[in-house]
């Protein structure tokens, strides 16, 4: 999708991620209200459309969130679901409304409470009407098969995979929104409980609750609102996962590679110019593979990229500056929106204690979504945003 006119992020909001007694609507409202205030918006009349990503909390989730904010009865509120991509997709659709000139200001929200309803001690799985789910598929298993093949082909070890958790938890150390953070050793990661070989507990993103929100608007509206640090949307891409039940290389990821290439084309920004990335590090193996799929390094060199420190402070690009899903946890429908919010704060230099230095100018985010037999993922959503002041 080529944006028809310039779109800017005016303001963002994110809740603390973790186990919460607040349901999805209170979390979503908290993030949305933060984003509205952060955009200098002081009444319900400015925003003209709202998109709300949620995966598992039921029906009319968006209207439930926005009722107390006085939005219902005034604007269209559209609920968006594509599993883990839901929140990213909601932001994408808000951008599209502004880009097409349908609105001057729109909001994208992702909100989810998983822990209030979930049966503990079980794994997240695709829909039960899927043939693979019928035969025991769980999301951990899909990533575990990728890891198993990756270790088999490259000779990498579980200790190597654990380095991703060690790095991301370190990045999260002073992030007040992150859940699991600070120092953890490779041994602690490797010796934690086995979930799906070779993925141990600390290599899997925690089941969490949270929300993120992003207000986007036109150039005129950014000026009207008096936004000092407007962030330009350089690109936003949503794809659906290619289907084929044929042998394919699962140490790559066709949909992530395809979406990255589209985003680079749309934004005119290549991986060499990206300063920070939030990606779908639901499991350690994913981050390693995605360095390669996103062309930050050559195929087969993901582990070297990590070991050489290229994905942390002082490297080519800081991956998971907020700590990623491995630290924040992954409230399914929330993460995509929260990633954009966290990236915007990094560009504005507002991340005291976990600010990437020098302050980044270009930030990319990536969420895949859903298990569907015959695809690597059912959906993928990516955003490229840049400082514009």
């Amino acid at each position: 999708m080529k944006l028809q006119r310039d779109v800017y992020i005016a303001g963002v909001g994110e809740t603390v991620f973790g186990k919460s007694k607040k349901d999805f609507d209170a979390l979503g409202r908290e993030a949305a209200y933060q984003a509205l205030k952060n955009s200098n918006i002081d009444r319900p009349e400015i925003v003209q459309s709202a998109y709300v990503g949620n995966a598992q909390n039921g029906i009319v989730t968006g209207q439930t969130i926005f009722k107390d904010l006085g939005f219902v009865g005034k604007i269209p509120i559209i609920n968006v679901e594509s599993a883990c991509s839901s929140g990213g997709m909601a932001v994408h659709l808000a951008i599209k409304d502004v880009a097409c000139g349908l609105t001057e200001a729109s909001i994208g929200v992702g909100a989810e409470n998983l822990t209030l309803r979930r049966e503990t001690g079980t794994a997240a799985m695709p829909a039960m009407n899927d043939i693979e789910t019928m035969h025991g598929a769980v999301m951990t298993g899909k990533y575990s098969m990728r890891a198993t093949r990756y270790l088999y082909e490259t000779g990498a070890t579980i200790e190597d995979l654990a380095l991703v958790t060690v790095k991301n938890r370190k990045h999260a150390t002073n992030n007040p929104h992150a859940w699991f953070k600070g120092k953890i050793s490779v041994e602690e990661v490797v010796n934690s409980r086995m979930i799906a070989y070779p993925l141990t507990l600390h290599q899997c993103c925690p089941v969490a609750d949270g929300a993120g929100a992003v207000v986007v608007c036109s150039k005129d509206m950014v000026n009207k609102l008096g936004i000092e640090k407007p962030i330009k949307v350089a690109g936003t891409v949503v794809t659906s996962g290619p289907y084929h039940n044929r042998p394919r290389d699962i140490t790559g990821d066709d949909i992530t590679e395809m979406t990255s290439i589209l985003l680079y084309e749309e934004s005119g920004i290549g991986p060499e110019d990206v300063d920070i990335v939030e990606l779908h590090d639901a499991f350690t193996i994913a981050e390693l593979l995605y360095y390669e799929c996103m062309h930050f390094c050559k195929k087969g060199e993901g582990l070297k990229f990590l070991r050489d420190g290229q994905s942390t402070y002082g490297g080519k690009c800081v991956f998971s500056a907020r700590g990623g899903m491995l630290s924040c946890g992954h409230p399914i429908g929330a993460t995509g929106a929260a990633q954009v919010a966290a990236n915007a704060k990094q560009l504005r230099g507002e991340c005291k204690g976990y600010q990437v230095e020098p302050i980044p100018k270009v930030a990319m985010s990536h969420v895949t979504g859903g298990g569907l037999s015959g695809t690597e993922h059912a959906a993928c959503t990516m955003h490229m945003i840049v400082a514009d002041w």
């Binding site: 049966e119 001690g121 079980t122 794994a123 799985m125 043939i131 693979e132 789910t133 019928m134 035969h135 025991g136 598929a137 769980v138 951990t140 298993g141 899909k142 575990s144 098969m145 990728r146 198993t148 093949r149 088999y152 409980r193 086995m194 979930i195 799906a196 070989y197 289907y243 039940n245 044929r246 042998p247 394919r248 699962i250 037999s373």
Partner: protein, 146 residues
């Protein structure tokens, strides 16, 4: 192995015990079971599982093809935390068949015993329990006999 949605005397609908006649053929004459591929009559594309339409050309007619009983284990996962209601550990894997088809399947065997590129063969086993607590029979793969 009853039909999907077989009925009890009292009229109560029972859950399935066999998954699924479009996927797996277990001949009553005792010959070896096989998975059923579907070749589009219009464009020739071979698919497993059966699709409503051929995604390549929207062909509506298919010829059933018996797929190879042996293949190579591309990758696998020993699952220690599984789906609600499923006994752990269990094993899942991707099996590549000579027909250029990849099958997602549970594996029959013990955790820690499989390796990538192992030769595996089709077997027919329970995969899970249905809503009535009875086993559902389907395809699985196990290490191929020499």
């Amino acid at each position: 192995m009853g039909d999907p949605k077989e009925r009890k005397d009292g009229g109560k609908e029972l859950d399935i015990t066999f998954f699924h006649r479009d996927l797996l053929e277990v001949p009553e004459d005792g010959t070896l079971p096989y998975l059923k591929g579907y070749r589009c009559i219009k464009c020739g594309q071979l698919d497993f599982p059966k699709m409503d339409l051929c995604p390549n050309c929207w062909g509506e007619e298919f010829e059933s093809v018996a797929l190879s009983r042996k293949g190579k284990l591309y990758s696998y996962a020993d699952i220690y935390v599984g789906q609600p209601g499923m006994k752990t550990p269990y094993i899942i894997g991707y099996i590549d068949l000579p027909e250029n088809i990849r099958i997602f399947s549970m594996l029959e065997g013990t955790v820690g015993s499989f390796r990538c590129d192992d030769d595996v063969e089709l077997t027919v086993e329970p995969i899970r329990l249905n809503k009535d607590g009875s086993p559902i029979i389907s395809y699985k793969f196990k290490k191929a006999s020499a």
